[in-house]
Symmetry: C2
DNA sequence: GTCTATAGCCAGATAGAC
DNA sequence: GTCTATCTGGCTATAGAC
């Protein structure tokens, strides 16, 4: 008797998607090799074409899946009913965790963005990813109430994204340049996760 | 009679380097095509191999040149004798200008960083790029003097880099998602250039 | 130095047996 | 569904004429 067969866990299709996610994220669309994906999945190259007609197709399947994750994790928080400050705290900690588990993702997106901007923008549009209206509104309100400094909501959003995403994006390089021992950099990032939200909130409070 | 023939301006070699810089930065190492570089330079593909033995070679030549620019523009400011606050102001405005003129550069680096982290780190090491000691020292001093808040110099540096580089990196996507008309986004970035330094300096001042 | 033509390789895709 | 074997196209690199 088998374990409860949840969904189609460990089906060949799932194996392929998992392997493809890994390889595409390491190498990008142009650099990835179908053979490498097949090897990673422990199956034959021809099977990739059996399940997904072409490389392009497989790529899109992987990418669509990843965007869904962003949509849920990221916009979920920012569009919630939470008050602004809790929201900022939740964003930084939640997003940092998410990015550490998917540290390939930002590089992957930037990579493909350079290759074919239109395609990437359309993917994002299709996934319904856009500046969260609820957050924008809250910022405007808090500015008007005089609780935070005069700041353009878009600039504030860009600052949040920059501070959260860039360090993950540049992590391998920063590790190398700082000549940090393996653990040191991870520790730096842990410290960052704790201190960044409070510093950031403080930075938009009135003196 | 010709114009004063400055250096080897417009020599075939210069034409190739210029074209290669363009194509490599758009497509990355894996995505770039020697044919495309040749077309861009208005010469034949075989000439590329005549001047630079291989694609790998050409790539390294281009990249070495680009790192030199970073070294001069970026570390020049941060290692100077300027006081901390002037330095921060200069960094944001100067670096933003530099990145706008070389908007491909961050994506290029992130791209190659994902393909082959070790190679990229070595390139940076060879170019002598590392956290600027003078800046680190200044931050420590100002913290000790009680002029700015208690903050780890590395975190401060990471914040500066994040805020300056990420928006350029993600610009095409942000443009698309914000559904900004062409001029709108540029205006947003202009505004950013003016407001970011003051906001950032304010964020590290004691209340 | 610059070109045309082509060799040689590699990766995506397909045919067809099981 | 899964495999082996193979086709096909495209890209780097080279040979060789001018």
């Amino acid at each position: 008797m088998e374990e409860v067969p949840k969904h189609k866990e460990n089906s060949t299709e799932e194996l392929i998607l998992k392997a493809a996610k890994l390889v595409f994220s390491r190498k990008g669309m142009a650099g990835a090799r179908m053979q490498e994906i097949a090897d990673e999945a422990g199956i034959n190259k021809a099977l990739l074409h059996y399940y997904f007609r072409s490389k392009e197709n497989l790529f899109n399947a992987v990418f669509y899946d990843l965007l869904g994750n962003i949509q849920k994790k990221f916009l979920g928080i920012l569009n919630s009913e939470m008050d602004l400050f809790s929201k900022i705290r939740n964003f930084f900690t939640g997003y940092t965790d998410f990015l550490q588990e998917n540290s390939f993702l930002p590089g992957f997106i930037i990579n493909e963005l350079n290759q074919d901007p239109e395609k990437m923008i359309n993917h994002f549009r299709d996934a319904g990813i856009k500046p969260p209206p609820k957050l924008i509104l809250q910022i405007k309100e808090e500015v008007q109430k005089g609780n935070i400094i005069q700041i353009d909501p878009m600039q504030l959003l860009m600052n949040m994204l920059s501070l959260a995403i860039f360090p993950v994006l540049a992590a391998p390089l920063l590790k190398g340049i700082l000549e940090a021992k393996e653990g040191d950099f991870d520790q730096l990032m842990e410290k960052r996760k704790r201190e960044l939200p409070e510093w950031f909130i403080n930075s938009i409070m009135k003196k």
